[in-house]
Subunit: 585 residues, 2 copies
């Protein structure tokens, strides 16, 4: 037996296996995940495992390594979040999200820090040795809402898209603020005197960390898009580039002390539309599937490790401090949301209702990021108290808030997510309105979001697409792409139902006819509406219709390492087409 030799990969594989099997286990009993969020169940599994390890070895089980968390477990989840981020609601609410993420987080940090310092002054609690700076440092790590925890809970309760993006977007973008404040207070703790210059430098750093992250991310994202222009002959490695470039953007940002989370999100959002157009359909399925799979596994591991790490002797149980931390976390978040939303609502027509405000405040879950940060603290005599307080806050938010938020959403009758994707008709009207508003903004001289969006779209089609897309002479309108996607999906369903060729269903005929005429109409409407719009839309549709009878079934060579069966490009067989045409006429 030679265990040493294979230990590292063997144990990693076993942990992932355990996590996956736990997941299957929960889903075998359908009732369980519908009541308790998966994150709670996973932490519970972790607690049991930690208990077993503690009981057997009689020493604390290993704590989740912060390096492993930040370098290997967090990036897949953030990449998945960024890649599948619904960009429209995100950019429509970007102002509100940034306000919550930046001002809200600073508010929470200072609120929690100062009030805990106040608690420390009460002699009965025996906490006078905890300085203001240490309290602020603790505040900076405990204030940040955790994207992993938020995602795990919110994707199960299906609230409306705006509410979801407000909480989720905040949890992602507050990373920049958390990183800056945490590092600032940590360096202040180690300094003997603090000059006012240092504070100004700290404020300046916000912009460097955040905008630097965006810049790094976009650079890598556009490079990724450019690279996929050249993968036509070697389709199997296409998915790799999506993962490699996003991971590199994260690592590069971390290397320069910028926000890695912001970088990977910018990278994913920047590359998405170009990569999707360049890579093959199968590559794209693989990218999507693997991202989901990876993030799902990471997320599972994080919660299990969180449970395991909770058990042990790392804690100092000073109950007043711990209880007040929980209370202040709740109060300051609620206050912050109320105050900020008051200002937001004054400048928006589409206001945030009080029900939504409650869910935003209540959805401020803490998670593994706080946990990893508290272990990264420099050693000082009260570190174990901070670890205990962080653990309790995380368990409280994940268990109590996480488990009650679904009943509360039901009780308050919060507006839910719409069941189905927007129809082509709706999409057309949304686009129509976008163009109209961009025109109005242009005429009235008000440079609002529609104006900038339109300018960006112009820049994109004029320059970026030509560089980044393989077939840049024929860029496809999103509606044409949607049409193609729907048709393909429909075809597969038809084939699975055995309907193909036997008897074309009337609805499909009607529907596709409807889609087609809609597309044509859009193209014409769009064309008339504004000259910034792509005039190739119509041409595209014509091309799709023209390719009508040109493709016939063809099988590739039996097997090969670099290609999958059925990937070969179809060739045009003139004769076959003529026969087909003849028969259909």
């Amino acid at each position: 037996l030679d265990y040493q030799h294979v230990q590292v990969p063997f144990e990693i594989t076993l942990w992932i296996m355990l996590a996956s099997l736990a997941k299957i286990g929960f889903h075998l009993y359908n009732k369980l995940p519908s009541v308790v969020p998966e994150s709670c169940l996973l932490i519970f599994v972790g607690l049991i495992m930690g208990g077993i390890i503690y009981g057997l070895n009689d020493k604390s089980p290993p704590v989740m390594d912060s390096d492993i968390f930040f370098l290997y477990l967090l990036p897949p989840i953030v990449l998945d979040a960024g890649y599948f981020m619904p960009s429209r609601p995100f950019f429509e609410n970007i102002g509100t999200i940034l306000l919550y993420a930046v001002v809200g987080t600073i508010w929470n940090v200072f609120g929690i820090g100062f009030s805990l310092y106040g608690i420390c002054q009460v002699k009965a609690f025996r906490l006078q040795d905890v300085s203001l700076l240490h309290n602020l440092l603790f505040g900076s790590l405990i204030a940040a809402v955790d994207p992993v925890a938020v995602l795990a809970v919110f994707e199960e309760i299906h609230v409306n898209e705006k509410l979801h993006i407000l909480v989720f977007g905040e949890s992602l973008l507050n990373d920049a603020v958390t990183v800056v404040l945490y590092k600032l207070f940590r360096s202040f703790c180690e300094m003997s005197t603090i000059k006012s210059v240092d504070i100004f430098v700290g404020v300046g750093k916000f912009f460097v960390v955040g905008l630097g992250g965006v810049l790094v991310g976009l650079t890598f994202g556009l490079t990724a898009a450019f690279t996929t222009r050249f993968t036509k002959d070697i389709r199997v490695i296409e998915p790799l580039f999506v993962f490699l470039y996003s991971y590199l953007s994260y690592l590069t940002a971390e290397m320069f002390h910028l926000s890695g989370i912001v970088a990977i999100i910018a990278c994913a959002m920047g590359m998405k539309r170009y990569v999707e157009a360049n890579i093959s359909l199968k590559s794209h399925t693989t990218v999507k599937y693997f991202m989901k799979m990876w993030s799902s596994v990471s997320d599972t591991l994080i919660f299990i490790f969180l449970g395991v790490s909770t058990i042990g002797e790392n804690h100092e149980w000073n109950w007043p401090y711990i209880c007040f931390t929980v209370v202040f976390c709740l109060i300051w978040r609620a206050l912050g949301v109320l105050v900020l939303t008051f200002f937001v609502n004054r400048f928006h027509v589409n206001t945030i209702t009080s029900k939504d405000q409650f869910i935003i405040a209540y959805g401020g879950l803490r998670g593994a990021i706080c946990f990893s940060l508290v272990f990264l603290l420099p050693d000082f005599h009260r570190k174990k108290l901070f670890i205990a307080a962080t653990t309790v806050v995380i368990l409280f938010t994940v268990f109590v808030q996480g488990m009650t938020i679904r009943p509360l959403v039901d009780l308050l009758a919060v507006k839910r997510e719409r069941e189905s994707a927007p129809t082509v008709g709706e999409q057309i009207h949304i686009r129509f309105l976008d163009h109209l508003l961009a025109g109005i903004e242009d005429i009235s001289g008000h440079w609002g979001q529609y104006y900038w969006k339109d300018k960006l779209e112009y820049f994109n089609s004029k320059y970026l697409q030509k560089i980044l897309l393989r077939e840049y002479d024929q860029p496809k309108s999103s509606i044409v792409l949607l049409y193609e996607k729907l048709e393909r999906k429909h075809a597969i369903e038809l084939a699975e139902a055995g309907q193909l060729g036997h008897a074309p269903s009337h609805p499909s005929l009607l529907r596709s006819g409807f889609l087609c005429s809609n597309n044509n109409r859009t193209a014409i409407t769009d064309k008339k509406l504004e000259d910034t719009l792509n005039p190739d839309v119509l041409e595209n549709i014509q091309q799709i219709l023209a390719r009508n009878l040109y493709r016939i079934r063809r099988t590739g060579p039996a097997y090969n390492r670099h290609t999958l069966p059925g990937e070969a490009e179809p060739v045009e067989h003139a004769e076959e087409i003529l026969i087909l045409r003849h028969k259909s006429l």
Copy 2:
């Protein structure tokens, strides 16, 4: 700048990126890969990079770590090979493959070992200090044909399926022999006296290492199949199990000093048919795609590292020894193939032609496995000579043989691989013949391969399928599955051509009608033929036809971490069906 912190993942990502970009680079110029095999180009890139590193640092570039090779780079390639192994030709030729892999390898090891020992006796060469045991040890690592190198060259030349499986199967299965002989001679080198018992133990080990590997692999493979029975509600982690279980089988086998390569192949071949039936179509695409991607990257990295590691000061250039090694490798392989094929041809109707024999002998490429094994040798004063000889043999076989084998195949007019996959008609006839032969063998009392195959199939449908498949009450015949696959592919092509619903093409009507009637006919033929055959085939077809009009288009919720859009199960809408039926009548 904090490079230390991200160094490990950053450098790994950069290496993979370099490898992928190099691959894209070759494929940009279509002419290059058609003349020079990719493996040669990659080694060349590696040589250049090694030269640059050597020139800049003035010390030898890092050598490929044997642990990294065996634990991380080799498994993906072998998994891919095992999973996509065409099982029919493999099992039809299993006897011949095993003969080449076991007897052929032993023949080569002793042949090369003893003749090199002869060379060492020539005083002019100054090699008298290399003992017989060391020569045999060297023979054991240089004799084994390398699956990675063989695959890289053979998949580009497209020889016929039987020839391919003979060379490739041999290269995979000789791992067990190589492992045993290598470890045996290595322990003999460290022993003072060798008893005859030790030699018998060594012979016994062959069976333990090989059969043990098969057992470990099958155990994990069937467990994997069993696990995927329960993943219906959590489709995104399905692909993970395929990778996790196969990797675990490899690691477990390595841990017990069994053949990891044999284990992972047994695992992949054992799980394939059950996993494919259990997991969703998208999961399966992801599994296939990711396997190809992973093996492609591993393979690229191996050849680049091979190039990089060649540069440096690890070599002792004793030219007589090196040249004779190359010559003996060629001669003993050629002799071995000739002698073994003579015996094989006496017992087979379908003989191996002399052209095929030449390609089998000439296709015995050496690669990274030899290279890693030679670095794992215990330190002794002639190790650098062995490293030099191994490097030269690898470069000679990959460059000279690899580059000339394609012209030789053309020149000799070796029978090529058939272009297209077998049609449904052919498949039916093959199955018909299988049943017939199984019956004949049963009656005549000759227990040949058809008899055993039939028994295995009976055992499979009677017991294994019920345990391992989710819908075990309706196991699908391979022909029904093929039919479904073809229909789905056809549907996608139709949709892409825009033909769907507008005008169903006549050929598709004809073809699917033909397929259907064929299926029915087969089912009846099969049913009449033997009662061991599945009586559900007919039922299956009826089900497919019955589902005809039942499925309608339906969209899932907008986004979720654990599911991909469009995964939801379609529901039966009674009203819609009635309307559809009414209209079609």
